[in-house]
Symmetry: none
Subunit: 453 residues, 2 copies
Amino acid sequence: MDYNKIDDFINSHLQNSIEELTKLCKFPSVSAKNQQLPETAYFVGDLLKKRGFDVKIGSGNGAPVVYAERKGVSEKSLLFYNHYDVQPAEPLELWKSDPFELRYDNDHLFARGASDDKGQIISRLAAIDALLDQESDLPCTIKFVIEGEEEVSSKNLAPFIENNIELLKADGCIWEFGGVNDYDQPIQYLGLRGICYVELSITTANQDVHSGLGGSIFPNAAWRLVWALNSLKDEDENILIPGFYEDVIPPSSLDLHLFGQLPDMREIYKNRYGIKEFINGVQGGVDLNVSEALLPTCTICGLSSGYQGEGSKTVLPAKASAKIDFRLVPEQTPEKILTLLRDHLDKHGFLDIEISFLGGESPARTDPDHPFVNLVVESAKDVYGMPMIVVPMVGGSGPNHLFIKHLNVPIVTAGVSYPGSQNHAPNENIRVVDFLKGTKHLARIISEFGSLG
Amino acid sequence: MDYNKIDDFINSHLQNSIEELTKLCKFPSVSAKNQQLPETAYFVGDLLKKRGFDVKIGSGNGAPVVYAERKGVSEKSLLFYNHYDVQPAEPLELWKSDPFELRYDNDHLFARGASDDKGQIISRLAAIDALLDQESDLPCTIKFVIEGEEEVSSKNLAPFIENNIELLKADGCIWEFGGVNDYDQPIQYLGLRGICYVELSITTANQDVHSGLGGSIFPNAAWRLVWALNSLKDEDENILIPGFYEDVIPPSSLDLHLFGQLPDMREIYKNRYGIKEFINGVQGGVDLNVSEALLPTCTICGLSSGYQGEGSKTVLPAKASAKIDFRLVPEQTPEKILTLLRDHLDKHGFLDIEISFLGGESPARTDPDHPFVNLVVESAKDVYGMPMIVVPMVGGSGPNHLFIKHLNVPIVTAGVSYPGSQNHAPNENIRVVDFLKGTKHLARIISEFGSLG
């Protein structure tokens, strides 16, 4: 394969890619709000059909899964996993422009989904365009699974995979995300933490009550919630749910070695996020890298109760709720954590706290020694000037465990994001330079994958 | 004094009173919206001038205070505290008629301010009319302080009182409200709890962060807030701020006796508010009454942090805040509680929690054994068929401490409201029967006050 021609094609067709990304980002496909999910699925299907893929749009429960396949020259199959749904754009006032109108500014592309995950989809299509410009057939079979519920815990993906194991069979899988680190070095993420996302809620009366009347005689929903939350984690970040740490596998010496090769993030994180110090007594270096990815968590994502407007209102709240996300590491499971949480609350007298399970994923990882990992890592050198830096696990979550469990496929990451991409936050964006490099790397991966031994 | 003639006069001049109340209620004197406050003040001043009072309309900051005085036969001075401002009438759609057009219906008078507090003002004037119909001079000197900012925390009342101590000097004060309970028994409220209202807030980062990234390494504003709150009060409702209870005067045996004579509210509260049980181990009866009014509180009025919308969002909040209202009992003060709170948070390592002081009033009460209280309580018998039921304290708050502190005056309640008066709510009203009884009671109080030993 002539990579100069491939790269020229990708460079000269950038405007096409930006136009397609603009159209895709216009769909406010917020899965948490069930917004225009089928419409977005059909638009993504059309993008794939244009590239000669056979496309099936799912018709099961939830947002439709887009499945697409195009046969290639070799026996090998490469599976891409992506998602067309996005996080809510709120708080809207912090966006510098409409989150659903792609904005090109100073070589960045801003929009909800620009990085997570619509920009990745468009990059993958651009790599395929470049390969098809050189050869009439793809070097290997390519399959896409593009779901619409990734941001709400992929709740209907498991049955889709379980019911389509033969169809989805592949020799390697490229995950939905990927990109560079703060030093513009390409990064290979080989595992994801799991997640157990719950809402705790409590109702103590049929209405809010004047605090002058009820303050010293009626139960207060907000106080009950605070006490229940406090029972879950202490100020030293120890999670107090009995059995929570039982199934945790400590990092291996290879893990520690690989984490030790990663850059020290202490100053970058402190400056970027305005953090004064880290928790768990971590100062930086390998400790920070290992903690970020391999410690399980109990994070309060939201708190809500009573009066939250300007100034004061003397009210005793009848209702209170908290959103909580537990990040899990191998071999914890969301099902077990949910059971342990209920037991813990009951044992501490919080039978009045209701738990709503809003989604879960198990943790999962790919062996850093797998040959497919090696191909992807080494093929980066030609584009980035260095092989990828291997990160055994990252802190985020996703349905990679479904693919690993049911398809027994190695999973790698490759993509167009950078640490300033603001995934899930206002002013989400990618840099054009990363889009071009990530796309060129993907073209090389696909090209070389056909001849993998 | 011939009370038969007094009562005949009040009965026969009811129509006059209703006409004056109609005119007064026509002013939409909503202090929260700064509506026609000077106009209402001048109209109230004219009502007092008609009764031979010297009237001064204040010209300081905020809504003008109306001060009026008429010398009487004895050396004694009786001070009335009232307000001409009202709460907003919204939600308007819940009113059965225009809130600013007094409506007479089935022996009730409906209008915003009918009970709180314009009806009280007109009743007091009607009592004075009845006395002046019998004698050319009043039995004692009468002073009125009628402010226009009671519904917005009386923010300019303190300097007015501090600057006019000689002018306002009195031997007794009748508070702006009063009336009967659910059993049509006249009630004497002798004190109000204080309040210290604060907002606790914390910022741990310059933006919300993806919980998959920051969950195990970055501080979480919501968790910091939960731990700080938890340090303030334990699950048994003990407030843990050192020194918080230091100045609390426990209920006297007279208090306990008086609270013991009040109705048992357990079933009424449980049914009205859907409460399963009370806090502090209280079952009902005298314990409930004492706890409601004489326990200091630390009430969370509101909690806010991170994502509060539908479904899940995996975010680590950078900001969190809680609104907290401490109700105070004698001799606690908001100033000291604020200092203790800051000390406590600092000592527990919560230097990152900011405190915004949103308002305070000191608690204050009048001795149930004061002869003036006895006069007011006993003089009710002739009108209501029973003496007033004495309630040593109620749970709400107000500016009574300003009068008690600066004027050293005993304060009682007497008036024309009933539990269905809907103060601050749609269809505010009084009953004609309560207006007549309350006015007759006031005439007796004024008459007998001149000869109080």
